[in-house]
Symmetry: C2
Subunit: 340 residues, 2 copies
């Protein structure tokens, strides 16, 4: 009596296994009276179908995977919230995989997922877009996947991104209007398209205002914490005159704050800074941080919706139109860190 299964249910009911299965799935072949009996006993004996048997037979797992570079990061946590809100509604399960910003790790995870464990994948890429073969394998295997935020534009898959170029332009325009003379862009990696879009917006704004190229600084801080600390610290000593920093990610802005505190640089007097960020405490920082805030929850929601659409359409002929690419808007919050 360890575990209830459909066979025991059938025996108990004096019905065949197939009849019970059909009854549980509300098949038209079974008459109402029988269905009721089956449902009643199933509930009474606390029957729950074995998910693996079901997945094996139906070739569908009711599970999706989320592959992200890191999780202890407000942006990604909020995205997961958005994803979960949809998955929960559709009774799907959510597997989480963390790449720790290591492209090989991402490849390994994606390759593993080729085995059919999930019906679809949501990816925020850690890749340097050098090696795309794992994405191609997904396409070839017919496993639906959707990129969010960190997309790979060489791959023909649905994407949910934000208006990074425009946001970068807007942030930089703001710094220019606040009378900065030198401008620095804090970059995570020059291999990531999101970051590069933000940088392109940054550069475009500076170009439009004809800023002296020698006053433009691109700081490749990288993903390693201690290293990026050192790189930023080195850049700030000596401190360029009227420096305006546009940080492409929250983490680097926080590091900059720490460094400024350490070596006594006053924000916003000596240095203005604005950053992409979903920090719930941005307004409470000393000084309050001006931010470009991505609609993280919506990104997760939209990405999940696209994925489930993709899963539903699986097998059916794809429309010839290009795959959907949803672009959401980030919001600019002007706070004290960029005060004149």
């Amino acid at each position: 009596m360890e575990n209830m299964n459909i066979k025991k249910l059938a025996k108990e009911l004096n019905l065949s296994v197939s009849t019970v299965s059909k009854a549980l799935h509300d098949s038209y072949e079974i008459k109402a009276e029988t269905k009721e009996k089956v449902l009643a006993l199933a509930k009474q004996l606390n029957y729950q179908p074995n998910p693996f048997a079901s997945s094996l037979r139906r070739n569908s797992s009711k599970t999706i995977a989320v592959v992200i570079p890191e999780i202890a990061h407000n942006f990604f946590s909020l995205v997961i919230n958005g994803i979960e809100s949809i998955a929960e509604e559709l009774k799907y399960h959510v597997l989480i995989y963390i790449t720790h910003e290591i492209p090989e790790k991402e490849e390994q995870i994606i390759r593993h997922l080729l085995n059919g464990r999930v019906d679809g994948i949501l990816i925020s890429s850690s890749g340097t877009s050098n090696n795309n073969t794992h994405y191609h394998e997904l396409v070839q295997k017919g496993i639906p996947f959707v990129f969010f935020d960190r997309a790979n534009f060489e791959i023909d898959a649905p994407k949910v991104i934000t208006d990074d170029y425009q946001a970068g332009f807007q942030a930089t325009d703001h710094l220019i209007k606040r009378q900065c003379k030198h401008f620095a862009f804090l970059s995570l990696s020059n291999q990531m398209t999101v970051i590069n879009h933000r940088k392109d917006g940054f550069l475009a704004a500076l170009k439009q205002y004809q800023i002296e190229p020698s006053h433009v600084h691109i700081i490749e801080a990288g993903t390693d914490e201690t290293l990026s600390f050192q790189i930023i610290r080195d850049f700030l000593q000596p401190l360029p005159e009227s420096l305006g920093i546009f940080s492409s990610v929250e983490k680097l802005a926080i590091q900059t704050y720490h460094i400024c505190k350490e070596i006594n640089i006053l924000i916003p007097n000596q240095l203005k800074i604005i950053s992409f960020s979903n920090l719930p405490t941005a307004a409470l920082l000393n000084p309050a941080l001006s931010t470009l805030t991505q609609p993280a929850f919506s990104i997760g929601k939209e990405a999940a919706l696209l994925l489930f659409q993709s899963i539903r359409n699986k097998g059916k002929i794809q429309p010839i139109t290009t795959l959907p690419q949803i672009v959401l808007k980030s919001t600019l919050f002007i706070r004290e860190s960029t005060k004149m």
Copy 2:
């Protein structure tokens, strides 16, 4: 040729399915030469075993579930990081379920997991300890689970917690020594044991210093955001003299900061505050927030280790000794928000 499976592999190799399966599992029954051939072709044809067939037969899923109240919260994100670090090593998969602090939601999730989808569960309870039947059902079904942080002490399961009583005492002691006259404890719920342990520490310290009971305030702020805002705001108007606040969770401290900013209460002059928190920006707030910081990553790691130990021991006789309960220490960081 859609998907590779063991049958096709066997045919290609002129071997039986069973031989191939054994070879892939490095069985002693198969000679080295055959194993090599099988492994070689498996790699060449990119064979990956179907996880559902395997799980169905072996009755094990190589998957664990993490059930948490919310994810957009530094503490839980860090815990997940810790959990993932162990799961990844053991090649386990991690399913995430979010209860949004709704006990019924938690029950529903746990009940669903009785179907064998996972080999074990890590739980940070959202329950009010009124209804424990779902935990009992886990025990009865023999599904291993471990509580972390928010444990239910009526249930005989392994737990990883922190020294909440002591930390609460320490935080309060600190406030007393900083010459506070009135003392407030911001609580999420009087049904949660973690919170109550912190409160007990708080009350014990006040008792030891013989603080006038009328100067002690327990604020039940609750989990609803707008409501808790209102409750805290109401409490702060009018502002008790020399108020020292001990916030049991980060979120309420942040709300308090926002309110103080809004109604112009100066921290730490008019109000001192210390909070349990894993905010990476605690030191950068205005003013820097004194915190009790839980070793979130370690909590996740230890809980995962206990769970896997439990999974390995499944079926074997349990030792008569009480189940393991690991207590980790929180760290006190004194910052400006409690300055004299």
